[in-house]
Symmetry: C2
Subunit: 215 residues, 2 copies
């Protein structure tokens, strides 16, 4: 999530500094993890001294949660909008593609979410992401199980566990793509964010969804 594009006079100095801090912190947290990132690094990246951070955030933990919150909100809203406006059947199965487009605009969010998800269960960060996943997964479950009979009338009903495993697979497939830039450069030259490769990934996502529906 990069800084808002508003005109520099619409924001007060404090707001601009807070935005810069969030930008730097998001990048560093995603690349180095929570414990691996120091407030000194963040302050230096934002062009201020360390104690200045405390004029905008209560502490390291609060800053981390603010980063997650700012990254999670647009994603949640956009996905909610997509889900709500899904009138035709195929709109539901497009969910991974939509999520890919959203992650494409903020590629480091994938790493941020995965870390928060693997992190301390009691932490606010973990609960934030877990809560988001909850609604997302519930919707994914409803999609798969609701569509299946319509699309493939002769398909047998799948048990809840299989549905869950499928939804989780789609999530891992979608986010994992953005965590695999290094692996990709081993196998082929190029950038995973290249439109051609994004198109290839979306094609794969659709094929996998279809493979899940037709059992």
């Amino acid at each position: 999530m990069t800084a808002e594009g508003e005109s520099p006079r619409r924001q007060s100095k404090g707001e601009r500094t807070a935005g810069r801090i969030l930008d730097v912190a998001e990048d560093l947290f995603a690349r180095q993890g929570y414990e691996g990132t120091s407030l000194r690094q963040i302050a230096r990246g934002a062009g201020i001294k360390e104690p200045g951070l405390y004029n905008h955030f209560a502490g390291k933990q609060a800053l981390y949660e603010a980063v997650l919150h700012r990254a999670l909100n647009p994603m949640a809203e956009a996905m909610a909008g997509q889900i709500e406006s899904a009138s035709r059947l195929r709109d539901y199965t497009d969910l991974p593609s939509v999520m890919t487009d959203l992650l494409l605009r903020h590629p480091q969010m994938a790493a941020l979410f995965q870390q928060a998800l693997q992190g301390d269960r009691e932490s606010v960060g973990n609960q934030l992401v877990t809560q988001w996943l909850e609604t997302l997964f519930q919707q994914g479950m409803r999609s798969l199980e609701g569509l299946e009979p319509a699309v493939t009338p002769n398909a047998q009903a799948q048990d809840r566990e299989t549905l869950a495993i499928n939804v989780i697979a789609m999530f891992n497939l979608t986010t994992g793509y953005f965590l695999s830039q290094r692996a990709f450069s081993i196998l082929a030259q190029g950038d995973l964010q290249d439109p051609d490769n994004i198109a290839r990934q979306k094609r794969l996502l659709h094929r996998v969804v279809r493979a899940m529906l037709v059992s």
Copy 2:
């Protein structure tokens, strides 16, 4: 990787202690990450004081690399054996299933590998895992691209980028499963290591591979 099952007199005291240290370190590194784990924690878990660690490992970094090495070697050998003994075509497409069985015996290795893969590019740990992935991926690529015409004579040849994306997807699908226990408990009750769920996952893996082959 749990301690060797050898009789307690076959190992010297030092070897036994080193093994305990590796066990504890592997668990903590996988759950909390490299920076998030302190040598004090590891020492306490192994039942010794902190300086005692230095009788067995040169330092934190060396201990971390030893953990990765001990976890990576059996996996690499087992996969190499599977690949070498693959006479029939389907042996190749079974590779994700074989990897699932291996990871099932040491579920925390998935987290370990992902962390090392995302971590510092210069680090020895990253290079260790990257090197392993390289051979694994090369083999996966060769499988997919070599098998395709045989299995589906009417399928068009896929470009290298698509192959790479497919191989990466299979890797993310296979390892991501073992990182998703929390997500699974949101959607359904149960343990992802339950044989029934493992069977469901393997069924999914095979379906996805098939979906990749028949373009």
